[in-house]
């Protein structure tokens, strides 16, 4: 009889599971605009900001309810590293998908080309063209249509510990050669490392390749350029920084290790962007905020160059509440909100007029990064943009850990890039 009972129990369990699945329907609150034009329902926002920033963004997002009392904002923080994948999973399956996402500028063309994003309303698109920094606006477009509104813009700079550099008697370095001399002086004086070079994220490779006058790809001529002479030189430079002892690095947990090393004074310099400012201020070394210095990224043998990055807000094409989602995006990219995040988190606004505001003018970090952004290298806004970093990551780590030579790493990256960019030279 025992088997009979087990089978019955199984059938019962299955029936229960089936009903449980069936009961999991949407709350029905996503009704969108009511007849009287008042917005209602729920807007789910997936934010990718880091631990130091997220509390501030959650507060800002939830304040949307003050303007639209019938709209509930559901704030979800998705760690940046996993976000691209999670967003794609949610968008392609449609279940539990967010209404609004904070997309890295490199993802917008990709998501738009796959049909995941709703076009922004015509009046918003006009506003984006008129009021926003042109290089930020460019990232939200795909094939002439606007799919995303720029929220923040950024680039990278050399973060340094003023006290440590002064103790070692060196000036903030302007070139990677000077970084090496400075690092030697710092090591001799304090025993600490000069530079932390992030090794587990190939975005940090971009300043090195721009510094040699190279780039990952040339979209105009449809050419892969990561494996040309400049690319090889960039891999060599990365390897050299580590082997010469000028830089320390890790192949895993790079973000946490970099921030820990810099905040605790284990490393005197790092290359990073405005998104790291709020977190750096939380460290022991920067209790006195004035100790944090920022300089342009060190130049390679050709020039100094840092990538232009940032984040855009985009609405999911399958959202049941597009009207409210659009209103939320408008609010989150409004001048007041941008000024607030500039003040609290030192993030750079995307609206031209925001830079005239006293709070923004008062932020030393913003004042430093704004001219840097103006000169930053704009990436090719192609759908494959975000995909290039995964294979580049593999080769970049191999090169800096010595698992493969700079030449082989550049060559292998080129092979992988051409697999992704079918038909490119």
């Amino acid at each position: 009889m025992r088997r009979g009972i087990a089978a019955t129990a199984l059938v019962a369990a299955l029936a229960l599971a089936a009903t449980a699945c069936g009961g999991d329907t949407k709350d029905g609150g996503n009704s969108g605009a009511k007849a009287d034009g008042e917005l209602s329902g729920t807007v789910t926002w997936w934010d990718t900001s880091n631990d130091a920033e997220k509390a501030s963004f959650q507060k800002i997002a939830e304040a949307f309810t003050a303007k639209h009392p019938k709209v509930t904002v559901k704030y979800v923080n998705v760690p940046y590293g996993d976000a691209q994948n999670k967003v794609k999973n949610a968008f392609s399956s449609g279940s539990e998908a967010p209404d609004v996402i904070r997309a890295d500028v490199g993802w917008v063309a990709d998501f738009a080309s796959l049909g995941y994003l709703a076009e922004v309303p015509a009046d918003t698109a006009k506003k984006v063209d008129a009021d926003f920094l042109p290089q930020a606006a460019a990232s939200g477009k795909f094939e002439g249509k606007t799919y995303a509104v720029p929220q923040v813009i950024d680039t990278m700079g050399l973060f340094y510990n003023k006290k440590m550099l002064a103790d070692a008697g060196v000036e903030p370095p302007k070139t990677l050669e000077e970084v090496k001399t400075a690092a030697a002086a710092i090591k001799a004086k304090t025993g600490k490392a000069g530079l932390y070079l992030r090794g587990d994220d190939s975005y940090w490779f971009l300043p090195l390749i721009y510094g040699e006058g190279g780039d990952l790809v040339d979209a105009k001529t449809k050419t892969v350029t990561v494996d040309n002479a400049a690319g090889v030189k960039a891999f060599k430079t990365a390897r050299d920084l580590v082997t010469s002892g000028a830089a320390i690095t890790n192949a895993t947990d790079g973000w946490a290790n970099m921030q820990t090393a810099f905040k605790s004074g284990e490393a005197a310099m790092m290359i990073n962007g405005p998104w790291a400012v709020a977190d750096s201020y939380a460290g022991d070394q920067f209790k006195d905020k004035a100790n944090l210095g920022i300089a342009p990224v060190p130049a390679g043998s050709v020039k100094a160059g840092a990538p232009q990055g940032g984040h855009d807000l985009a609405v999911y094409a399958g959202s049941k509440n597009i009207a409210a989602a659009n209103a939320f995006v408008d609010y989150m990219t409004s001048q007041e909100v941008q000024v607030q995040s500039a003040k609290e988190l030192s993030l750079l606004p995307t609206r031209t007029a925001a830079y005239e505001q006293p709070e923004v003018k008062a932020s030393e970090m913003v004042q430093f990064f704004k001219p840097a952004v103006d000169k930053a290298v704009e990436r090719a806004w192609i759908p494959e943009n975000g995909s290039l970093f995964a294979p580049l990551q593999v080769e970049y780590t191999k090169a800096i850990t010595g698992a493969s030579s700079p030449e082989d790493a550049a060559k292998a990256a080129g092979v992988e890039f051409r697999k992704i960019l079918k038909g490119w030279k």
Partner: protein, 344 residues
Amino acid sequence: MAAHTSQSVAKAAGGETGPDTGPAARGRSRRTDNRNRPGLKRALATHWYAWAMITPVVLVLGVIIGWPLVRGVYLSLTDATERNVSRTIGANHIEATYEFIGLDNYADVLADPVFLQRLVWTVLWTVACVSITFALGLGLATVLNREFRGRSAYRMALILPWAVPGFVSVFAWRFLFNRDNGILNKILEGGGISAVPWLDDPTWAKIAVISVNVWLGVPFMMVALLGGMQSIPGELYEAAEMDGATPWQRFRHITLPGLRTVSMTVILLSTIWTFNMFPVIFLLTRGGPGDSTEILVTQAFREAFVSSPRDFAVSATWGVLILLLLTMFALVYRRSLRKQGEVW
């Protein structure tokens, strides 16, 4: 009534599981085949209860395993990507435009040196993990099989890694392995030994992933082998002791043969699990540094989910190849067991 029902179910179950239940069942099912329709009809009439019972299971397995499998094999013969499959997202409706391309994907994957590299490391990883896990599990089981004070406390402690969710353990290990701030290196540095780049050096990273997987796998091995040991009759040991056999001789000639059935099963299971052990590799090193710890399944994941547009066809191809490899392994393994006289 109760007796009657239970008997018919037992019989039916024996008939269903076929070759696995040994010669008797095999003989009978063969007879049923020879009688064709009337036999089938009679079998249905006698065992309708059993058929009714297994229908939900068959249906569920068909839906959750059979259909995806068929679909996966089909996708591997096409050029489907995220861009050309049909999808409806809000107002956007996109028609499917992918095509049947035969075995091209298989040719491409097998011609790529990456496949061979991953296969070599996957086999190495599986063999290393399974043999170390088995050896440690056997050793611990032998120790715990004796009577001593606090035995159950030790048993509980050793089963603990199994009770902790896998990803929690892996993340804990990741903290321990952290080169700059991890406890392991702090201890080494305290002892005057220079820090080990656990996850930053290809060789150390391989050692690290193997040791974490062994740590996760030992409890299962130990429990299974301990169970096997306890089913060996004590009289055998008594008799051997009377004959003056040394402990080593008793272990070799009683314990090991007695554990044979259990160990064959756990080795097979453990091999399949380790071969496809996605979380340990993915969460600990993400296949890195570079791609040095990437095994076949994590590579398949990379193909499908990391680059854009997601390449469903190539990923399915990897999946089918992995399935074929494991099926081949299981067949060879079973055949070699049968040669040794195991009824399995």
